[in-house]
Amino acid sequence: MRKVLIRIKRQKDPHSMPYWEEFEVRVTEGMNVIGALKEIRKNPVTVDGKKTTPPVWDESCLEEICGACTMLINGRPRQACAALIDTLGDKIVLEPLSKFPVIRDLWVDRTKMFDALKRVRAWVENDGYFDLGPGPFFNEKERKIAYAFSRCMTCGCCVEACPQYNARSPFIGAHALGQVYLFNMLPLGKKDKDERLDAIMGVGGISECGNAQNCVEVCPKNIPLTDAIASLGWATTVRAIKRLLTE
């Protein structure tokens, strides 16, 4: 039976130094990185025979639809559940996402991404949660574009790969810009589009994007983030001129 070496960058808590441990795992059919981590957890002994603690990671759906188990796998940000061992070579390196504070081992704190969604008001303002009949019609062609953006899992791949997104930069990230684009095209979202544009025109907003285009490269849902950013670039320019004329 084939074996692989799993090298994990570990860290006991947010304040301690990271360290590396290596584990040997017997590969079973269709095994993914989560499957390998679960095998390690059942008998947490390193390749040198040292007993250790079970590795810690964030997970939920294991179907690449929740975004929880995002980590760096051989240097690339992606969901561990969808990373099949057979496609990764004999030595697999697992690291926590580098743009977020580590909680423990491969588990990181992505609060910053969710705060960005608050800043850009990524929701529909409606009249309440009771029976008010159907919403407006929605053209299926536009709906398809919106749907592509509404599949964003807030997983962190796009911002991990982005050179502008880091602890020293206030950039809110491509995922948040994608949501602005989405809500500004929804039939009941459009009415608040100026507020959302205003939210991405200040510090850390759309002008911080360096157009590296790494975000679309790594997005697991192939969301056309750079199209959204280009379109929002134009919309914010128009908005800036309007603001200049009316204020």
């Binding site: 006991k12 808590d13 079973t28 269709g30 095994m31 993914n32 989560i34 499957g35 679960k38 957890r41 059942k42 008998n43 007993k51 250790t52 603690t53 079970p54 810690v56 964030d58 997970e59 939920s60 759906c61 294991l62 179907e63 690449e64 639809i65 929740c66 975004g67 929880a68 969808a82 423990r104 081992d105 588990w107 992505r110 969710f114 969604l117 608050k118 990524a122 929701w123 529909v124 409606n126 009249d127 309440g128 949660y129 009771f130 029976d131 008010l132 009949g133 159907p134 919403g135 019609f137 929605f138 053209n139 299926e140 709906r143 749907y147 509404s150 599949r151 807030t154 929804l186 009941l188």
Partner: protein, 575 residues
Amino acid sequence: MSERGVIVVGGGISGLMAALKVVEKGIPVKIFSVVRVKRSHTVCAEGGINAALNTKGEGDSIDEHIRDTIVGGDFLAHQKPIVKLCNAAPSIIYMYDRMGVTFSRTPEGRIDLRLFGGVKKRRTAFAGATTGQQLMYALDEQIRKYEALGLVTKHEFWSFQSVVRDGSGRGIGIIAMDMKTMELRAFPAAAVIICTGGYGHIYGRCTASTHCNGSAASSLYQQGATFANPEFVQFHPTTIPNIDKMRLISEAVRGEGGRIWTYRNGKPWYFLEEWYPSYGNLVPRDIAARAIYKVVREMGLGIDGKDAVYLDVTHIDRKRLDERLGGVLEKYERFMGEDPREVPMKVFPAAHYSMGGLWVDENHMTTIEGVFAAGECDYLYHGANRLGANSLLSASFSGFEAGSRVVEYIKGKDQNTDKKWFDDELKRQNEQFKLLAAASGDENVYALHHELNDVMCDKVGIVRKNDELSSAITKILELKERFKKCGTSDGSRWGNQELIFKKDLYNMLELAHAIAAAALLRNESRGAHYKPEFPERDDANWAKITKVRFAPDAPKFEYEDVEMSYMPPTKRDYR
């Protein structure tokens, strides 16, 4: 401890819907979840959500939705709640529509509908093949709006441990553990709503997200809440098997024309179409799962001799497939490395949905006053078998109901914040965790969980025999003993997932015992509960809800007649 407000445990769509109904009245809500609420298990629902919108010229009606749901559940669900559920369905869809859910549309821009299992009319609204994700995100966004206003506080990565009860037995708050700092803390509340989903991970090899283990519901059960119909676990006919999980291939695939077959005498055999000419590939899930099990395990006709039959969409136009089933086909391709548009998918049944759950009254209150339950963790709507696309509906509607009832319940009531009750329960939980952390021995908690999964899948699964159920109970009792020897490989006081899982496994073992014991007692076949020794539904003796109460040695059972005010039982025939 003077804060007023409501606590919601669980952040899937039932939890968030309940929270919205409370917070829109200006009452503050705290939401507790073991994951980011946006990553709750609701995102795994694919196919859609049912409502008799009747926009396809097929003469669909709410009455037909009610009848399909009652018959689909094999007459084990009280009928009045189903009538309310189906009547509310169109307004639930419209509410989501007004939150901005990107439902797939008709050429005119209306919400499109597709066909699903156990029905004859197109009744399922959908957003591609990721409907659950889209509904989840809409509620997550609405909740974020209230979070920004300071009315909702999220406690994400907090694990619910127990409710706090006062001297009269009323629920007045909860104890939860911070999964980072491992601190146990008490939170007072005017009412508690439990929306913690199903218990698939007692079976392990299931379609559920990894935290759907029934631990919270089991904890309440051990505190005295009555649990109902635990033996009713749905096996979804079409999943992709793997060691880490069984991945769902939506019923929508068959709704869009997918066909199930295997080879017999060297030729394709469409056994569902042959056995059930009227409903064909869209028979309800219990029937489809049993048919596949029979063909594979009893007739030995699995593909390549393995646990698999084909689910075939290769005859359907590629563009249409991508538009209507994109998400699910991408998933198959990603995990299996084959393009299902070119090669038929290999699938097999796996544990999927818990019809059973915490017993609740018509107001969604459990047998503990002040503690409500909604979503998959209640038992109210699906009887012995749930129809496809009724779960997103019941999760939404029950959350809506529970939230609304809680607002009425807390009106004019004094909130009990007497420190004594909180201190007592906190002490009890601290002691339990101290014991768990101090335990030593050769057993590994994850390996033991795997053994529990094996016995549940093998002996309390699609086909049940009384001698096997008895041996399953013996095995569960053995696992409970061995649990005491579960050592600790992680002594850390920070982010210790092993310790929390240990507590979860303890709770799973208690609930597993109730499932197996309830299955042993029910000597009939009804919906997902099938015993070849008793192959027929027995309405004279078993048109009854199982109600189980916890006792330290063995669960205690009583039964409640099913209320059938809408329609009397009929023969359930999909041929």
